[in-house]
Symmetry: none
Subunit: 224 residues, 4 copies
DNA sequence: CATGAATGAGGGTTCATTCAT
DNA sequence: GATGAATGAACCCTCATTCAT
């Protein structure tokens, strides 16, 4: 029987995802399109091409779907971070680092479209209970580690605040970076990098990331 | 008798308006705490200390409550902008301007805690949805005018992008500035100012707003 | 106090009806216009120019209003019957009798517009409980007496059936006789008389009531 | 497996349709018993032996239930008319024709007990309301055609009036023909035929329909 | 395991009725 | 008595969840 399952998995993998993953993919798409609350279980089941009842063979309830989706996203994010936060990347100049960092995160969010919806849902209220708190905690920890690696002298309290703020800033611009015409999306990604670069490195007037738009106007003649 | 009725009405009218305001306040609190959708009319009524049916003596339906709340908020916001965007304030150095600007907007959002939730709520049906879109457009227009006054040389397209991005950044940090311990909230307000200051004036190393925390760590020895 | 009430009644009567009667009149109008169910107590109160609470000073509940209205109508109907069913009228030839009878009943229904609505409401279901059964019973008794006077040889069972059927026929055409252009209404009243005349006097080919239209076409050449 | 699904669907489809019919039957019964407005969805569901939510698997809302019921009734009525109004039946002597006509319509209304309630219901909102108006118009058209076939010399205006009046008369007696002890119902059906026969053929003293009771009393000695 | 009809608690809303003023 | 804001049960409908097949 175990062998049977193995074989089935082996056969299924090529022509698609496993049932569970199909459901999660459907859920992610719907979370992104209509939000967590409006993504009814029937809608998710239909999108996944299964019956409503089948959902509950894999997940005990709707929140568990979100939880599993968040977990899958977190796992993937883990892999992204493993790449991004390698010593070599961390050692890059900040503009280059941001290029890599932001591009990777935007790409990740394109692959997990529901991640943003869940994050924002939990921003407003707490429909998913602790599931998303976990998710956020994981991300915050990563950012914290990143900051520690980059700015070892920074006090931990401040580091945490900056991490939280940075996370929010990123989320704030992410929707603009995922929808709309390609040109606009690229411009927004540039602004994301600019915002974070300037937020992280306030005292330098140095080069922004390569594809960062020259967003600063000539400084007005403010005397300060 | 006519006089009697007059007096009674005089005493009643305020009571009716008071109730209306109580309901709106309750709604605002709940919008902020659980979001528009989860703020059930029964919940709002309970929070306002009235029965479910009483709501409908003042508002024809749930959406109308949100609408009235948004309208009251918008009216107040208008007044805030009238103060903030006076020629004298606009002429202030950017740090001082941001002090006034952000403090006023944060205070406004503290007074109208549900305003943010409504601004973000995507699941509101068309009539109110459109009203909120208008409202957003109004804010964007204000920001655009502000930028134009401050940086007349900036191309309008860029100005609009920056306005949109700034609006999003502000919204993203706002929840952090409204909840949690007082110390943390203040710290976040400082970060808000820092983020916008640096985003708006990237090429100056000048003084950040007065109460802005020294959020920049000593620049790491990045060569750029 | 009793004297006081007397005086008030005396003073009020000239410029309108008593409060109770005003409410009943309002109820009757609304019963006719929107039906018993849709005539909300608030609507009745508003139409009567009193507050919702005042209604309940005169009537214990909505059904009691209908009951009282029906009672008032019945009392008036009683008076109508007292006139109609006088020996002289009963002795009239049937066409003349029907002229008097139908015209009086149509006039009565014009004065008590809600009577029909209540009668029909109770035709469909029994929202008013026994109130309207009483009303119907009273009418049926009258019709029965009428038939007995006119056709003393008719068995009582048949008499009752004919009374019931006649009552229904009358009600069926009444709405048409009360609304629409004057010409149409008159035509309908004519048809009412024709229907009843022919139903009551099947074996005579004699004169229909004076204003009865010549509704019968030349008999087709049916051989029977 | 495909075969399996085929078979299962084959078994299921009827079940779904069965449920739909059960719900419609329950609705029809309740429409007849308490009227459209008082026939709550919970009541209909209970009568059909299902849960409130189940109704909505088959019908989008309460009005749709009435609509479907009316549609089913109309379809059946159409078939009834196709039979009744065949040239052979129309050519029958009036008493025989009325036998067929009334018996068929009464049988139809026994099979669709809610049809009458819907026809009379004035409180139904527009979409269904209009559908029912159409339906009434259809019936009136049928009656008009019937009269034209039978009495070609009759002016069209009078024909329409007689159609309308006849329709009302029929509806007025129908409840009596559907409820109560069997004997009474039969007697009422007899009266229906008598009423219409005499209304339609006033100048003939010929035979009434076969089972028509000898409802006319010996003519009183009225000289006209 | 899959199915999808069935469930029923809960949401927004109405309205007959009550009660503090 | 009069007022009208307040009440809350009940309506129509949705949707997360269950279960017979």
């Amino acid at each position: 029987m175990g062998e049977n399952r193995e074989r089935r998995r082996a056969r299924r993998q090529p022509r698609g995802l496993l049932r569970k993953d199909e459901i999660l993919a459907a859920a992610g798409t719907l979370f992104a399109e209509v939000g967590y609350d409006k993504a009814t279980t029937n809608l998710i089941a239909a999108q996944a091409g299964v019956s409503p009842g089948s959902l509950y063979q894999f997940f005990p309830n709707k929140e568990a779907i979100a939880h599993a989706y968040a977990a899958a996203a977190t796992a993937q994010l883990q892999r992204v971070y493993d790449t991004i936060l390698s010593p070599e990347v961390i050692a890059l100049p900040l503009p280059s680092f941001l290029d890599v960092f932001i591009d990777a995160l935007v790409a990740f969010n394109r692959a997990f479209p529901g991640y943003l919806a869940l994050s924002v849902a939990s921003t407003i209220s707490s429909p998913l209970g602790l599931a998303l708190a976990d998710l956020r905690r994981g991300i915050m920890g990563r950012l914290d580690a990143l900051f520690e690696a980059r700015w070892p002298a920074m006090p931990s309290k401040e580091r945490r605040l900056r991490g939280l703020v940075s996370y929010r800033l990123f989320l704030a611009l992410l929707p603009l970076a995922l929808e709309g015409p390609e040109d606009d999306r690229e411009a927004v990604v540039g602004e994301m990098k600019a915002v974070l670069f300037r937020y992280w490195e306030p005292s330098t007037g140095g080069e922004p990331p390569a594809d960062m738009p020259a967003s600063g106007p000539p400084a007005p003649s403010a005397p300060w």
